[in-house]
């Protein structure tokens, strides 16, 4: 049976309660009758033979690119860059799609006699990946063949000797990327397109760039004009990245892009109920829900977190395409849209969302309050094309425990950002003007980013900017079940129950408001007419 498309359910009083993620747990909430619930499409069917699909993609590239085998020759410098730990979410069951693709690329490189090969994690300003994470993404074979010889690198955006400035775009944007990549005869970029935002020129222009370059598009103005981040044709972030990508190509740097798409089979069978529509829950699903809810309520937060972060997703490959960046990305988007798009008629006064335990920046880590904001207002809010799901002046209600807790190794600058910056202001423009520079250039944060496993000093600012469009658009943000002090620190309103939150929201949007809930994850993309 082919997967069923996503759809919008209008609730009535007989509709069973709806699943809301709530950090390391979930809740069943009853929405007012007449509310809409946007359900994602079911996971698409996987390609039957993923390894063969990869080989075919490399042999039959899109755009004006030659087959990869023809681009490889002895004596050349080859850099294989790949997406970091932020994709996919949750991490997928081995073998990871990066391992499949990189092994196929290396097979061809070996056959062509290419000796100078370096693998590079395209970290941008993210934290470095641990050995376990690299092994998971690349597989033991690849890791052990490259890491011991220093040929498995992680992009360092603060290495003064490891970057090269390629000049400026027509719009005056600095283009500065990794030197090893820039001086290679060929960059093969191995991407995972989990959502429409990923991939394209963003892969190299962001993944291998420096702060000097990133600041041209990771800023408040650009992100306020990215409507949405999932719609590259209406996203300033993408426009800027595309300018940079074309500049990189014009500088003589050749990129062979390999993009993969995954289906939304997000959770293993033990948690099958999480991606099933509530009225289709079997007796087993209900029993699992009750048992897991009861156990999680009695589980210490740290243990619950480690249990959730050990989840390996059964994501399956739905397409792989390779060749010239823009031609590849156009095909990739078709596949992403086929998996994610749900038509939705009209906007809503109140948008509700249950936020899960994970976002791209807390894999094997803690979902701190800034990341909660980023996931809700940066990602979930932006899961639209056309118009935002919620009207201007509307309210977003997020459900998440929002603990005032930070990972001291991964997110050191977040701690100071939360304590010092947000205590003074939550206005993105003011934050950018007054504080960004000092955090971005702080030698201690730079040191931790380069040598430890810390996100860059400026990263919490980017997370805050990610929600800048939402902050500008919304009348209020309410967090259900969150740490009251942490929620207030971010300028949001705390509520203990969804019902309270809806009442509070009605004070902002007026009585008898329309309510829409995004039933995610699994992810979706609302096509709002």
């Amino acid at each position: 049976m082919s997967p069923r498309p996503g759809f919008v359910l209008e609730t009535d009083r007989a509709t069973p309660p709806t699943l809301f993620w709530h950090g390391e747990g979930w809740r069943l909430e009853r929405l007012p009758p007449g509310s809409r619930i946007v359900y994602p499409p079911e996971p698409m069917e996987a390609v039957a033979d993923p390894d063969e699909a990869v080989r075919q993609a490399l042999a039959h590239p899109l755009g004006d690119s030659e087959p990869l085998a023809d681009l490889l020759r002895p004596g050349m410098r080859l850099t294989i860059a790949f997406d970091d730990v932020s994709l996919p979410l949750p991490p997928m069951r081995p073998p990871d799609v990066r391992q499949r693709v990189i092994e196929a690329v290396l097979e061809l490189a070996a056959a062509a006699g290419v000796d100078d090969v370096v693998l590079m994690a395209a970290l941008s300003l993210h934290r470095r990946m641990t050995e376990a994470e690299l092994r998971h993404a690349l597989g033991h074979r690849v890791y052990e063949a490259f890491a011991p010889h220093g040929l498995l690198l992680q992009h360092d955006a603060e290495d003064p000797d490891g970057l090269v400035h390629l000049g400026c775009t027509d719009a005056g944007e600095d283009v500065e990327i990794n030197k090893r990549a820039a001086t290679s005869d060929l960059i093969v970029y191995v991407n995972i397109n989990l959502v429409a935002m990923d991939g394209g020129h963003k892969s190299v222009a962001t993944g291998l760039a420096s702060y000097r370059s990133l600041r041209h598009h990771h800023n408040v103005r650009t992100l306020q004009h990215s409507r949405s981040l999932m719609d590259e044709h209406r996203s300033e972030l993408h426009t800027s990245n595309w300018r940079m990508g074309r500049h990189i190509a014009a500088s003589g740097i050749k990129v062979f892009q390999i993009e993969t798409t995954l289906n939304t089979d997000t959770f293993p069978s033990q948690f099958a109920f999480l991606q099933r529509r509530e009225w289709e829950w079997s007796g087993r699903d209900r029993a699992t829900y009750l048992a897991t809810s009861a156990s999680l309520a009695r589980t210490p937060a740290r243990l619950a977190r480690s249990i959730f972060h050990s989840i390996r997703s059964p994501h399956a490959l739905t397409s792989v395409q390779a060749g010239e960046v823009e031609a590849v990305h156009a095909r990739t988007l078709e596949h992403v849209h086929r998996q994610h798009v749900v038509p939705v008629e009209g906007q809503t006064d109140i948008l509700t969302m249950g936020l899960p335990y994970i976002c791209p920046y807390n894999v094997n880590s803690i979902m701190n309050p800034v990341l909660v904001m980023c996931l809700g207002l940066g990602y979930f809010f932006n899961l639209y094309r056309g118009k935002p799901l919620v009207r201007a002046g509307g309210v977003v209600i997020m459900s998440h425990p929002t603990p005032w807790e930070f990972h001291p190794v991964h997110h050191p600058s977040y701690i100071d950002f939360f304590d010092q910056v947000l205590a003074e202001t939550t206005d993105p423009l003011e934050i950018e003007a007054k504080f960004e520079e000092s955090f971005a250039t702080d030698p201690w944060y730079v040191h931790l980013y380069r040598t430890s496993y810390a996100y860059h000093g400026v990263h919490p600012f980017y997370m805050w900017y990610w929600g800048a469009h939402a902050l500008q658009h919304l009348g209020a943000v309410i967090v259900v079940g969150g740490d009251v002090a942490a929620v207030r620190r971010m300028g949001f309103k705390p509520a203990s129950t969804l019902r309270d939150a809806l009442e509070m929201a009605a004070d902002v949007v007026g009585p008898d408001p329309s309510v829409t809930h995004i039933h995610a994850p699994p992810l979706l993309l609302a096509d709002v007419e």
């Binding site: 009535d12 009083r13 069973p16 009225w279 007796g283 009750l290 008898d512």
Partner: protein, 303 residues
């Protein structure tokens, strides 16, 4: 502890199976059950006689004891020729025997009841039981299918009246749900009138999640037959049927004149109840209880 106790007494989802949203199609077993169940045998002469005996003896007596019905508005359908489509609000399994026994004999013994294919016809024994007892015909509530509509239209054309619940299922809390287009569609396609009917009080006798029958008072109010206007579409007609039932509900809760005035002003209370929290809805519903009114109105016992 209280929560546990409440759950034990009144378990809801996920302790019990969820209800399928009525607006969504439900995959039915690929068999002769569901909408595919053939009820033709239930309208043969011997079965009809057996059903009439059952209806006029057992069902009538049981309804009288359990539901103490007060039936009004029969004068409005006194001159109406069969067949007709009776469209009522739906709060309980008691509604069907109550309405069938309240109907005048010319309708009662030649009526079919539109019943949810996914609920009443999902097991062979259930399908046979309901086809025999109330002459139920399977109707898919999630979508209009050629088969179930064709069967209903065929019966109406053969002179059978039809009792249909346009809400598509029983109310979860006693207040009605929005009416769907089934009754209106059948009326438009057959040219037959729709008789709006309001039933009050059955929710307290056997609510949707209830497992025990509690005898109580009920009220059945028949309205004047209505037909679709020239060019009126199904949706608009369905809305008019809902309004007609709401006026009958208002008439039962107040009086005919007050209800008519409110209807003329467009201020008839919504059939779906106030947009308020669950306790306020329950509170207001209690005010409309036929039993309560009978107790509170001096002299009403003597009528």
């Amino acid at each position: 502890m209280n929560r546990l106790l409440r759950r034990a007494v009144q378990p809801g989802f996920p302790w019990t199976a969820p209800q399928w949203p009525p607006s969504l199609p439900r995959p039915l077993p690929p068999s002769s059950l569901g909408a595919g169940y053939d009820t033709e045998w239930a309208r043969r002469e011997p079965v009809r006689v057996a059903r009439a005996v059952l209806m006029d003896s057992v069902a009538r007596g049981a309804v009288k004891v359990l539901a103490s019905p007060r039936v009004s508005g029969l004068d409005r359908i006194a001159g109406l020729e069969a067949p007709a489509i009776f469209a009522a609000n739906h709060a309980s399994h008691v509604d069907t025997p109550l309405l069938l026994t309240a109907l005048p004999a010319r309708f009662r013994h030649r009526s079919a009841v539109a019943a949810a294919a996914d609920y009443f016809f999902d097991r062979r024994w259930k399908a046979a039981l309901w086809a025999f007892a109330i002459n139920a015909i399977p109707v898919e509530r999630a979508r209009v299918t050629r088969r179930s509509i064709g069967q209903a239209v065929g019966l109406l054309n053969e002179g059978w009246s039809l009792l249909i619940y346009p809400e598509g299922g029983r109310s979860p809390d006693g207040w009605a749900q929005a009416f769907r287009g089934g009754a209106a569609y059948l009326s438009v396609h057959t040219g037959l009138p729709v008789v709006p009917v309001h039933v009050e009080g059955t929710h307290r006798i056997l609510p949707r999640q209830g497992r025990r029958i509690r005898p109580g008072h009920t009220r059945v109010t028949f309205g004047a037959p209505i037909r679709a206007h020239q060019g009126e579409d199904t949706r608009a007609f369905a809305s008019r049927i809902e309004t007609a039932v709401a006026v009958l509900a208002d008439e039962g809760a107040t009086d005919w004149w007050a209800a008519r005035r409110r209807a003329a002003q467009g201020t008839t209370p919504r059939l779906t109840g106030p947009r308020a929290g669950s306790w306020r809805r329950a509170w207001e519903l209690e005010d409309r209880s036929p039993g309560r009114r009978a107790q509170e109105r001096p002299g009403s016992w003597a009528l």
